[in-house]
């Protein structure tokens, strides 16, 4: 089980980045369009398990506004890739949201209800492979969602977005050793829960 999700985005080209840093709105728009999906997915993965999926859009927009304000200070020649730098901002925002006690589950919206409905209706002619994958996805969502938010953040940044231990440590403002231990425990917890699901 080592294949990674293809969530690490292709980086913005240097010219467009340079223009965006100079305040070129068209270039910044390209930046937003390039990274909006991975940022939204990252934020969603971090906060949806806490019942805050409805906040994902706001946090994604806030991420890009902060990126805009700080972009002139980003050093393309520095150690961080642009995507890593943006993910750092997004991760911190998401964790702050979780810490701020806003995790009280909102009322389930219509889309969530429909999601549940569609998943619950017998699959009819849906290919078995798709069904199996959907079930795996649901099991993973449950297992990862059960992790404490800081551990979930480490796991997602590592195994979905392929950030290094150092990058995660910087993004989450924790020690590298803490990253390693949390990541190991998070993986163990997820695997244990998946194994339990298989056995039951």
């Amino acid at each position: 089980m080592v294949a990674r999700a293809a969530s690490a985005p292709r980086e913005l080209d240097d010219l467009t980045l340079h223009r965006a840093q100079r305040g070129d709105h068209a270039a910044f728009r390209l930046l937003v369009e390039r990274y909006e999906r991975p940022v939204w997915e990252l934020v969603w993965r971090l906060i949806a398990p806490a019942g805050l999926a409805a906040r994902a859009e706001d946090l994604t927009q806030e991420t890009f506004l902060r990126v805009y304000r700080a972009l002139h200070g980003f050093d393309p020649a520095g150690p961080a890739r642009l995507s890593t730098w943006i993910f750092t901002i997004a991760s911190r925002l998401a964790l702050n949201e979780l810490r701020a006690g806003k995790a009280a589950a909102r009322a389930i919206d219509i889309d969530a209800a429909l999601d549940e409905l569609i998943a619950s209706v017998p699959a009819g002619g849906t290919p078995a492979r798709e069904v199996a994958r959907r079930q795996l996805g649901e099991a993973l969502a449950a297992a990862v969602g059960a992790l404490p938010a800081p551990a979930r953040a480490v796991l997602v940044l590592s195994d979905v977005y392929e950030l290094s231990h150092d990058e995660i440590a910087h993004a989450l403002e924790i020690e590298v050793g803490t990253v390693k231990s949390r990541l190991s425990r998070a993986r163990a917890a997820v695997r244990a829960q998946l194994d339990r699901g298989v056995q039951s």
Binding site: R22, G124, G125, S184
Partner: protein, 527 residues
């Protein structure tokens, strides 16, 4: 594998799919960005009206109206007195296109007063301040101590301390219309007037000139070329990677052809790079995907055009780019601009040397080709890769007003063998239903309904699949407020799902079956 070692291995979380992000995030971010003001701008202008008027007069003087510099210099002095001094903390770089007269603190001892339409970008380094002025009238007050360099389309202005006015006329209205996208254009002449201090004007292929206080110079276009734009270099760099990718694709296809795997060549398929045969798998690129990718390189296309406008300021026209997209799923995608792409330009000056014009058009075409061939497109085709042809029209015009004149035959994006709104014909009912469900889960109701309705129209589909498709159509229709559609498909939903669909629609204010008992009396069959 020990438990500890196992926990060092990443977990494949790809099955835990996040929903598609809501549409319009970029629009909303950009609205917020614009509402917060551009980088370096300081809000409403404090520029005195009288000062603005004098700047306009200096422009007219360039056109032959006699006017002494004394008045303008006096106005500049007054303006300087009332301007706030530059504050610390100005951004080290930025760009502003002034919609109205405004003031920008550039830092490094410099302030700029921008007339409406002025387009400047600046960057402050330890070596000094560099401003690129693409358009409009700007008055600079530079107190030093480091240097100020103002780069205009026709000359550079260097100063260690001065109050000066730089006018790049016409550009504020110059636009390049490319498939509906506008970009910056090019100025035709530059006027530099110095009010205080002195400045040095450097033109290509000419000796530097020192302009003292009270004097001005006008730089007319001479046809001199400037250094190639960065996009050209970028495209060249991308070309290396592209060639390597093309070779890799050719190698894979040659192997596939030799081993007889991959479904074999399609009838009529063109030869692949390296002599192999290309499988003509229908592509699944949507117009929006293509447009999105092309939008990314529009600024580079604009630069190609701007390079040509350097030599032919009135030249404009239409380019019909014929692109071939060749893809291998495990390798990547290459784009080739075909030789039969059309470049139709007009508006060259009467005394233009035809041979020189052809050379310049050739350069223009090459620049466009290199740029378009650097396009990065989404995955295409099935496991055997795919190849599609795209026809993409561009209109280039020196001004937005002239774009229609050059766009005499508006043409939409046309693709050969590229499906757009319709599902790919190879998709089975199961696949369509799975796609519809995936779309519904992410609230892409338009696609969900379209795919599900396609399933319902297909013949020989098992009843269970049709019922499920009908359920998705009904849910989507209710979500979109389309009661008529919801009611139309409701009878085709399975009895087991009807109650719940009825409830969901009622929660959205739609009664799919008039006369049904109230939602509160219904029981959820799945709980």
């Amino acid at each position: 594998m020990s438990e500890r070692k196992r926990d060092d291995e990443p977990i494949d979380l790809s099955a835990w799919a996040a929903p598609t992000p809501p549409r319009g995030i970029a629009n909303r971010v950009m609205e917020a960005v614009k509402a917060s003001g551009g980088a370096g701008e300081e809000g409403p202008s404090t520029r005195p009206r009288s000062r603005s008027a004098s700047l306009r007069m200096s422009g007219r003087r360039w056109r032959g109206i006699a006017l002494g510099l004394a008045g303008a210099a006096a106005a500049a002095a007054i303006a300087w007195a009332v301007w706030p001094r530059p504050r610390g903390g100005a951004p080290t770089s930025g760009q502003v296109v002034a919609e109205a007269p405004s003031k920008v603190v550039l830092g490094g001892g410099s302030v700029a007063l921008l007339g409406a339409g002025a387009d400047v970008a600046w960057e402050r380094t330890a070596a000094g301040l560099t401003v690129t002025q693409a358009a409009g009238e700007v008055t600079y007050q530079h107190a030093g101590p480091s240097g100020l360099v103002i780069i205009t389309p026709l000359a550079e202005v260097h100063t260690a301390g001065a109050t000066l006015d730089v006018e790049v006329p016409m550009s504020s209205k110059s636009k390049v219309a490319i498939a509906g996208v506008a970009g910056a254009g090019l100025a035709a002449a530059v006027v530099i007037a110095v009010y205080e201090g002195k400045a040095e004007v450097r033109e290509p292929a000419a000796s530097p000139r020192v302009v003292e206080a009270g004097a001005q110079v006008a730089i007319a276009p001479t046809g001199a070329t400037r250094a190639p734009f960065a996009p050209v270099a970028k495209a060249t760099k991308d070309r290396t990677q592209r060639d390597a990718l093309a070779a890799a694709i050719a190698s894979v296809r040659a192997t596939r052809a030799a081993t007889g795997t991959g479904g074999g060549p399609a009838p009529g398929g063109p030869p692949a790079p390296g002599g192999g045969q290309v499988d003509l798998t229908p592509g699944q690129l949507s117009k929006e995907e293509i447009r999105t990718s092309v939008r990314e390189v529009v600024p580079l296309l604009v630069d190609c055009y701007t390079l040509m406008l350097d030599k032919h300021p009135r030249l404009g026209g239409k380019v019909i780019a014929r692109l071939v997209v060749d893809a291998e799923p495990d390798l990547g995608t290459i784009v080739t601009m075909e030789d039969d792409s059309e470049v139709s330009m007009k508006g060259a000056a009467a005394d233009t040397d035809p041979a020189a014009l052809q050379t310049d058009l050739g350069d223009f075409r090459q620049c466009l080709g290199a740029t378009l061939e650097s396009l990065v497109l989404p995955p295409l085709g099935d496991k055997d890769g795919g190849r599609v042809e795209i026809t993409y029209p561009f209109v280039f015009a020196p001004s937005e007003e002239e774009a229609d004149e050059f766009d005499d035959a508006p043409a939409p994006v046309r693709q050969k063998r590229v499906r757009d709104d319709d599902p790919a014909p190879a998709m089975t009912a199961d696949q369509l239903l799975a796609d519809a469900e995936a779309a519904a889960k992410t609230s892409e109701w338009g696609r969900a309904i379209r795919q599900a309705e396609t399933v319902m129209k297909m013949s020989g589909v098992p009843r269970g699949i049709v019922e499920r498709a009908a359920m998705i159509v009904a849910l989507g229709a209710c979500n979109l407020g389309n009661a008529k559609k919801a009611r139309a498909v409701f009878p085709r939903i399975s009895p087991a799902a009807k109650n719940l669909v009825r409830q969901r629609c009622l929660s959205g204010g739609i009664e799919v079956e008039p006369g049904a008992p109230p939602a509160g009396e219904l029981k959820d069959p799945f709980r």
